[in-house]
Amino acid sequence: MSLILTIAWTHVRHRARQTLVAIAGVITGVGFSIMMAAMMEGSQDDFIKTLVDALPHISVTDEAREPTRQPAEMLYRAAEFHGLTPEARRPGIKNPMATIASLSSWVPGALTPSVQSKAVLRFAGRNRTISVIGIDPRTEADVSNLATHMREGTLASLYRASNAVLLGDRLAGKIGARTNSSVTLASAEGATMSATVVGTFHSGFRATDETTGYVLLKTAQILEKQTGIVNEIRVRTRDPMQARLISERIGEQTGYKSISWQEAQEDLLAAITLRNVLMYTIVGAILLVASFGTYNIISTITHEKTRDIAILKSLGFRNQTIRSIFIIEAMLVGLVGAMLGWVFGYLLTRGLASLEFKTPFSDYNHLPVLYSTKHYLLATGVALVSSLVAGYFPARAAARLHPVDIIRGAT
């Protein structure tokens, strides 16, 4: 062992109680930091994953992102129009199948046509306004997790009856409908039809499970009273994080409003960013408080060791060597504390993950946590930097001690 390390180790070893208290401070700081980061990032990842799974990564709708520009507006910069009544046009995406074929050639992922509609669902005297989504069961599994969310029936069950509908389990429960129940759907366009419930699904999102029904594309087109209409193209990208870029390109190519999941949930993602800032601030504060313990022990040792410092300096030890001794002591406290803090943090995270609870918004049974090396490295890094800073000031003071002052005082 090097001389500096030998002296540093001897100092901290002979102040076992104080050293252990300082190490306990770092253990607590690192442990809780790891647990907190695991909990925050775990819940964030889980939330985003659920969000990404539940919704199409990109939704291309038949709306234009910008209002149609008037010819005069294009010719004259000074021209302005107010109070124009929009031109009535046929809803739906023009040539949807050709558009899908064109996008399929370069979009990394899967695309499927769908029809978004609103309808009133009637059963046993109960009326509910629901979103009716017309889908193609053959391609729906490629763009959403609906197939895996089925509680009763399958996507293919939609082919079982002429007007088949899959209902959210909460919706079905609220109106008292079960599989094979016959319900009535009345659209805003005035179309009314009898439909058979062929299955139920459970997405985990309360709003979806209470207000959504899936039908075949053809059925939704009948409700919309528009044969062949497709008013939404749903896209699932291979890399969900690339959705924003791909969405922009789709928008440019088709001229339709193309919204990525990130854009649709921008407020939520901004809140998550804010939450992360808060989290890392709190984690930093915890470790900072822990570093006070380290500062305390190193200051105490420095104070108690003024005579030894004078001896070492009189023997010919350099200031740098003296400084290093006390910095190494602080780093020893930080390093041992951090390493034990990993174990403590891991156990805390495991404990947290084992807690069972339920929220009104989703079906999580356990708190989602994320085990990431990054959290351990980050907490260790902050703990070591804190220890370094905590040790530096007493170490600098020790190196500045004038040996004669202490020797004179001792004699």
Partner: protein, 235 residues
Amino acid sequence: MTPLIEARGVTKVLSGIVPVTLVEGIDLAIMPREFIAITGPSGSGKSSLLYLLGLLDLPTAGDVLIDGTSTSLMTEDERAEVRLTRMGFVFQFHFLLPEFSITENVALPMRALSRLSPRAAMIRAEELLAAFGLGNHRHKTPDQLSGGQRQRVAVARALANDPPVILADEPTGSLDTLATSQVFEILRDLVTLRGKTVVAVTHDLNLASQMQRRVHVVDGRLGKDQPFASTASAQ
């Protein structure tokens, strides 16, 4: 012959509201193999002079030369290097590190100098301790030894890097008569047997009279500087 240590007009004044002059205008040359006593009444500045000669303190004016080299422009690290290689210190109180064994204490200067491996430093430390009759105590810590034994450890530590000069500040000041005699014998042997130069501050005129040369300090100034006895006659 070039003096090992030479003070030229060395003055030390402590600044403050009322400045205090510790030593003033000291001219002193210490030659190889000398056994010198610095004597004087309490507060006369004899310890301050020793600290200045040992580069533990900086003079306010004047210069201290080591082997003919001025130290006035040396950095703190350079002065530390001179202390580590050219000088050994023995203080009134042993000033050993209490958590370390006496062997480790003696090995400290050698390990700081890094000329020897840690293992070799420990072996030499044990040899030095054995030479001073402490071979059987080598694993003990300072608090397990008597005052005289601790002071012998301090002398062994001062010799660790085999410096030509040993500077001792009241080395027998806290010892009983027997231990004083033993430590004094050791210091004298360093001169006669090992060829070292020993400069010792003492208020014990009896001991001082047994040294080669006596430098008397009064009110921070050099008084008498006279040879007392040769080490040979002291033996």
